[in-house]
């Protein structure tokens, strides 16, 4: 028994960062799922994550706000930003929305770099206390998956899938398209912000270049690999893609090749992702 505990201790000591990242990326996968589930394509999730991370870190470091309050606020601020940019971008769909959301990420990166007195500029913010433990991360992840699952099996889930399949027909069914799009964007921003804040309060450091285009594509690939048939699928996609570099460590420099290869193969041969099952929409 003591052996077991010792082993677990060692295991956690070695891999805690990775396990934490798995959970955080699971939340990010849910955030992109929330948008893609109704057929939208966003590359702004990384930007929302950044807003959450900076909000959380600044509240903790500069204002000493207690963590239980920091967390909801790091979801609220990106939600407000999503609400503001949601209005004009709602008219866009598909690749155009993606482009508009890329721009958001770039604007914010430049803002973080230049608002040096607040954001620490290019050096970022460091010395963020560790407050987000594994229980919190995985607790939130489970709650969110279950939440999406139950909502998915109601008229909201049906409306979302209907929009993904045929937006015009969904509108004719009486689905309030602008409201659903805005709601999804706001909810996804909240999740991304939450993930950003959780990561910031575990990694000790955040920087302006962590939330750019590259990271946005990584988040997108979680849903591409996992699929969006159920809320669990993108989460599993995220975990596979996060764990892969570690598992492939012996391959050294070929890691990224294999990593890329797996994504390409999955997209080509598993267009519905590695978890292709679809959530039933009736109880």
């Amino acid at each position: 028994m003591t052996n077991m505990a010792e082993w677990l201790d060692n295991f956690l000591f070695t891999y805690e960062t990775l396990i934490h990242a798995l959970g955080v990326n699971g939340l990010l996968a849910l955030s992109i799922y929330c948008v893609m589930a109704l057929g939208q394509l966003s590359l702004g999730q990384a930007a929302f994550q950044g807003i959450g991370a900076y909000t959380g870190a600044l509240l903790t470091l500069k204002l000493g706000v207690p963590f239980w309050l920091v967390l909801p606020l790091s979801a609220l601020v990106p939600a407000l930003v999503a609400l503001i940019i949601g209005g004009p971008t709602l008219r866009l769909s598909g690749v155009y929305l993606a482009i508009a959301t890329i721009a958001l990420g770039e604007v914010l990166r430049i803002l973080y770099v230049n608002a040096e007195s607040i954001t620490g500029g290019a050096l970022g913010l460091s010395g963020i206390p560790r407050k987000a433990d594994l229980f919190l991360v995985y607790g939130l992840l489970v709650v969110c998956v279950v939440g999406f699952w139950t909502i998915g099996r109601s008229k909201i889930g049906r409306a979302m899938e209907a929009m993904r399949e045929d937006e015009v027909a969904a509108g004719v069914m009486g689905v309030n398209l602008p409201l659903y799009k805005l709601g999804a964007l706001v909810a996804s921003a909240m999740l991304a912000g939450l993930a950003g804040s959780l990561a910031a309060h575990s990694n000790n450091f955040i920087g302006p270049n962590e939330y750019g285009f590259e990271h946005a594509v990584t988040i997108l690939s979680f849903a591409l690999l996992g699929g969006i048939g159920t809320p669990l699928a993108p989460v599993i996609g995220a975990m596979v893609l996060t764990a892969l570099p570690e598992v492939l460590r012996p391959l050294q420099d070929f890691r990224l090749v294999i990593n890329g290869l797996i994504i390409v193969v999955a997209v080509l041969f598993l267009p519905r992702g590695i978890i292709p099952f679809r959530l039933r929409r009736t109880s």
């Binding site: 139950t150 909502i151 909201i156 027909a169 969904a170 509108g171 009486g174 009736t282």
Partner: protein, 263 residues
């Protein structure tokens, strides 16, 4: 009888082309109203204007006395308008039952947080919704296919499913865009029988159709469009004998010759 739907001076212009020109139509509650016309007459554009997929260049639309000209499609559904599409628009990945329940969207009113917590109120509403969906599937003859993926249905079945899905919104006015298109004579007969049954459900039908036998047989009143303008309106008998209609369909030469032989 009062007009359920009224169009006044409805006009839709696409750059140089006037697809619908100054059309006045009144659809009487409880009737089956047909819109016919040669290809390109503006029938589908008129339908898109009524269902809200397009905003007219000018003119007004009222549903039960309420101005709906500027409302988006989803608000019109709430007010009692539903439609089917000429080229079927099914949610193909969803099951037949899920399609019908999606059509019910505006009639299920429990808020999202109740669904999230799976409260009894939400469960009861879903159960009632499913029961109604089953009833509609029974009506259109798809009861045994409720759990089948809708994309795998046969063509005629998809057409009937689309009608069930539209009915799920409990519409006052149902727009059918070429419901008999691509159907064989037996399927067309079944469809006519099904649509007649809808009269008992207090649904008014407005349909666009090319199958003349079907239209003449089913409709109480027919509006004829040609090049975007209304050229005739009346009951099937009047329409059949209207010289302007015959000319629109057959061309002026044949129409003249036909008039001579009949005289």
């Amino acid at each position: 009888m009062s007009a359920l739907l009224s169009a006044r001076g409805l006009t839709m212009q696409f750059l140089g082309l006037v697809a619908v020109k100054d059309v006045d139509v009144d659809v009487t509650a409880g009737s089956v109203h047909g819109i016919i016309g040669p290809n390109g007459a503006g029938k589908t554009t008129l339908f898109n204007l009524v269902s809200g997929l397009m905003r007219p260049t000018s003119g007004t639309l009222t549903l039960e006395g309420r101005d709906i000209t500027a409302l988006p499609p989803y608000s019109r559904t709430r007010l009692g308008l539903a439609r089917t599409f000429q080229n079927i628009r099914m949610f193909t990945d969803m099951t037949v039952l899920e399609n019908v329940m999606t059509g019910m969207h505006t009639r299920l009113t429990t808020p999202g947080w109740m669904a999230l917590l799976r409260l009894p109120g939400f469960r009861a509403e879903e159960r009632a919704g499913k029961a109604y969906a089953d009833e509609l599937l029974e009506l259109v003859g798809l009861a045994d296919k409720a759990d089948v993926r809708s994309g795998s249905l046969a063509y005629g079945e998809q057409r009937r499913l689309e009608i069930a899905r539209a009915l799920a919104a409990r519409p006052r006015l149902l727009l059918l865009d070429e419901p008999a298109a691509g159907m064989n004579p037996a399927e067309t007969r079944d469809l006519a029988a099904l649509l007649r049954k809808l009269g008992h459900r207090d649904v008014t039908l407005l349909l666009v159709e090319h199958d003349m036998g079907f239209v003449m047989d089913l409709c109480d009143r027919i509006t004829v469009l040609n090049f975007g303008s209304k050229i005739a309106e009346g009951d099937p008998r009047e329409i059949r004998n209207d010289p302007a209609v015959i000319e629109a369909y057959l061309g002026s030469k044949i129409a003249e010759r036909l008039a001579r032989t009949l005289a």
